[in-house]
């Protein structure tokens, strides 16, 4: 156990050292190249700007986080429900799959302005974009996770007297959990893109809006500070997913103790 902990600490230290090296190279490399701050600000300037705008950052990040998480939650609910429909009602496959595939081939970003026309400048178009971008990966993975069950397992369940509900709860759903967590890892950054693009297009809040205002004022350090905010948010979410996997998915090949 202690050995394992040591290894993990060692790995974390390595990662941190890598980041530190990158930051140092950035800090002094920019100086050597004599790039002005409005082209590429150095980390120390970004840090100062981040600190100065902390409360603004927190406010706008909160808005973005909200639309992203709500959109992602919607894509989880709808994606899993659609997958259930397709898995349990086989004839639906030939209807739902082509429609979703066709829909997925439309770049959602391209229709974002439509959402502004339809839903205005509030949270709704952003949530909708985040939801639509996250939907497809959740749906596809859920279909696999809920549907691709070993026939022998289903036979065993049937022989033991398992009804559809118990088989769903204790076999299909459990089998789908890792597929859905994997889908979240893909869908979350996509939902975030949806939120930020939505903020670019209209409205007056969110990190996307803050980035735009940084651009208008040629306040490049602010733009970078916003990127730092987003990174903090993504790291937190990925951390939550990883913690979930560590606790509940210990049996997965990638999570097993050596």
């Amino acid at each position: 156990m202690t050995q394992e902990r040591k290894e993990r600490l060692g790995k974390a230290a390595g990662t941190l050292a890598g980041f530190a090296a990158l930051l140092i190279a950035w800090q002094f490399g920019v100086g050597i190249l004599r790039l002005p701050a409005y082209i590429l600000p150095v980390p120390s300037v970004i840090a100062v700007r981040f600190w100065q705008t902390l409360s603004v950052q927190a406010h706008h990040l909160g808005v973005t986080a909200m639309t992203t998480v709500v959109g992602l939650a919607l894509s989880l609910v709808v994606g899993v429900l659609l997958a259930l429909a397709v898995v349990y009602v086989k004839p639906l496959q030939s209807i739902v799959l082509p429609v979703l595939a066709a829909f997925n081939s439309i770049p959602k970003i391209a229709i974002a302005p439509l959402f502004v026309i339809w839903f205005g400048l509030g949270m709704e178009p952003k949530v909708l974009l985040a939801f639509l971008l996250g939907l497809f990966p959740v749906f596809v993975n859920s279909v696999t996770g809920l549907g691709e069950i070993e026939p022998d397992v289903l036979d065993l369940a049937r022989l033991a007297g398992g009804n559809a509900w118990r088989v769903f709860l204790k076999v299909r759903l459990m089998h789908a959990v890792p597929y859905i967590t994997d889908a979240v890892k893909v869908a979350f950054p996509l939902a975030l893109v949806g939120s930020i693009v939505g903020e670019f297009i209209g409205g007056n809040s969110g990190v996307g809006y803050l980035i735009l205002s940084g651009q208008f004022n040629l306040d490049t350090p602010l733009v970078f500070a916003c990127l730092a905010s987003i990174t903090i948010f993504t790291t937190a979410v990925i951390g939550v997913v990883a913690a979930f996997e560590r606790i509940f998915l210990r049996w997965r090949p990638s999570r097993r103790n050596k």
């Binding site: 070993e150 022998d152 397992v153 036979d155 065993l156 369940a157 049937r158 022989l159 033991a160 007297g161 398992g162 009804n163 118990r166 088989v167 204790k170 076999v171 459990m174 089998h175 959990v177 998915l249 210990r250 049996w251 997965r252 090949p253 097993r256």
Partner: protein
Amino acid sequence: MAAITAAVRVDGLSKTFGTGAAIQDLSFEVGENQFVTVVGPSGCGKSTTLRIISGLIRPTGGKVYLRGKEVDGVIGDVGMVFQSPVLLPWRNTIGNVLFTAEMRGKNPGEYRQRALELIKLANLEGFEQRYPYELSGGMQQRAAICRALLLNPSLLLMDEPFGALDIMTREKMGFELQKIWSASKTTVLFVTHSITEAVLLSDTIVVMTARPGKAKAVIPVDLPRPRDTKTLRDPRFAELAGIVRDNIEAQWVE
């Protein structure tokens, strides 16, 4: 064996997949609390027969009776062990053993004691909390046997359960199964293509012909129990194995 007392009676069973007949006019009986083995070449419909008996699939013709009652779909009083253990990877050993109870809609807590007893009987003590990937192939299959026996089924169907194991583990598993079976005393119908395994484990051996499968011979095994490694050196063992072999090889000439 009178027809009324037979635990399983297979009567003129046939099953056709597409255009080919998998089994044709198959008839045999399994006595109460007996260990009966079906031996036959690959593809002679042994697995199909087990699935029909379990009620998972319907025969094209003929009937199966469980204690006099015609099998008409899954009845729930049948335990099944497949060639692969098909344990759920997200459940530990005890969780996997309790799976059948949960599928039946029972409170798993009530079956915990029974599960632990079976696990002990199957020499899996100390591995209750382990996950399938932490178990060897033989251990996984023993857990699958515990799972099949948890609800005290009156019939245990085993479809080449040791087919995926190496020969040494396989022999050991045979003895372990005998131990588990004599403790639970349920009726077992066991499918294999190992003659040695069949003779070692069975009270009766049914030899099936190649596709389409039908019963070619029914051979009672009169070796005393409990059987152990000494049984393997018993001249009667060799004799019986010879009889089974003759019945299988006779088909090559036909």
